[in-house]
Structure formats: C-alpha cells, structure tokens
Amino acid sequence: MSRQKTILFACGTGIATSTAVNVAVTEAMKKRGLTFNAQQAKATEVPGLVDSVDFIVSTTPISASVTKPVIKGLAFLTGIGKDKVLDEIEAQLRK
C-alpha cells in the first residue's frame, strides 16, 4: 500500500451518525490490517472538502456534483449488509 488514504465520513449534523460509522469502520478495518485518516463533516459541507479526501462514506445523500466515490454507510447503523460495505471500503483503501 502506498500513502495513507483519507475517508470523509458524512451525515446530517457531522457529529452523530458519522461518528458511529467512523468508529465502526475504523475497528473493522483494523481487523483487516488497514488504517486510514478520518475526517467528519455535514453532508452539506462535503462538496467543499472533497478535494483533500480519497472517498466518502455517508449516511445521507451527497450532492451529485461530488465526483469522488461515495459509499453508503447506513449499514453500520442498521447492521444489515455491513460485510458487503466493508468489502467496498477495503477495496477503496487498497487501491
């Protein structure tokens, strides 16, 4: 793996569900031997922050103007389909 990647975790307020998702992804990726830099933001702030991150994990819809990959993070709140999303995140981190 080359340089450490940065994930932007987004949700409505930038402090509630994005925190829960950030923690869940950090723990799961550690088990897979992967680390990353994490940032958190409100979904509305994402377009202004996206240039400095590699991809986004969000629990709410993100503006279509964002060209970086957006991975849906709701699975970490509901528990449904979590492994598949973790595989997607791992693939992005290993790119």
Binding site: G12, T13, I15, A16, T17, T19, A20, V23, A24, Q40, A43, T59, T60, P61, K72, L74, F76, L77, T78, G79, I80
Partner: protein
C-alpha cells in the same frame, strides 16, 4: 446484549406505548421531556422537527416497526442525553439514506449530542440496541421501566 444503554437513558425520558400518530408528535413529546430535565434548550424541539423534514433519520431494519434517531445541531443541546419512545402504532419517518422512502417506525431514540468525542459510547450503545432484534422485540412489549431495564441491562 447491548450493555449500558439503560445507564445513558434518563428514566424520566422514557415514554412507553405512546399514542402519538405523527413523527412530529413523538419528537415533541420526547423533546419536551429532555427540555424539562435540563438536557436541551427550548429551541431544540423545533430544530429537530425542522431537521427531520429535510434530513430524515429513519433507519430501515426490514421490520414492521423500524427505528428513527432524530437529532439536531449541538447549539441546541445543554448536556448530552438520550430519550426513548416506543409507539403503540408505528408512525411514518422518512429513510435517512433515501428521503423519498417512507418507513413505519415503532421506536424513537431522540439524541441530544454536543461533543462527538465524548459520546461515542452512547452512540455505539444505541446502535447495538438497534441492531439487536430481540432487544427491540423486548422493548416493544415493555410496559414498565423494569421491563425496559430487563431488556437493556
């Protein structure tokens, strides 16, 4: 079992078997409890109701009674807290991930959060409960605080 959520819930901020018929009604009931108990400012209820319309918080769990986690910006919060409501009949919330999709919601966890770094455990505890179908089934039939304690530990 999700440990610890009971320690984070103020017993006076638990409403069981509410007759509320809309998401705004249950949000205002629970927000009123948090305000009376000193967790949030008087601006909190309106802020949550308004936010729910634009950035909804329903979580699809593939159940007839899903969960919603309404909340708002930290400036309306005085100290961290969580209120919980169970509904006699599900009310409609929109899906957090797809606001056009409506979900029947039977459980509402109203979050008062003002410092993400200090409230990670609280959030994890709420999420663990949401992801535990037996816990939700137990809460649905809970009629007293002792029933809730038996489920949430």
């Amino acid at each position: 079992m999700p440990e610890g959520l009971m320690q984070l819930l103020d017993p006076e901020a638990i409403v069981l078997g509410s007759d509320a018929s809309t998401n705004e009604e249950i949000i205002r009931i629970l927000a009123g409890r948090l305000e009376t108990l000193g967790y949030v400012k008087s601006s909190y209820a309106d802020a949550v109701v308004h936010r729910e319309r634009t950035i909804p918080t329903g979580l699809p769990l593939e159940r007839a009674d899903n969960v919603a986690v309404p909340h708002t910006d930290p400036e309306h919060v005085l100290k961290p807290g969580i209120a919980m409501g169970t509904l006699k009949r599900p009310v409609t919330f929109a899906n957090m991930e797809d606001p056009d999709e409506k979900l029947p919601v039977g459980f509402v966890f109203l979050l008062a959060i003002n410092d993400k770094d200090k409230q990670i455990e609280a959030l994890q505890s709420v999420m663990a409960t949401i992801q535990n179908p037996e816990a939700l089934d137990g809460l649905r039939s809970a009629g007293t605080l002792d029933d809730v304690r038996a489920v949430l530990g």
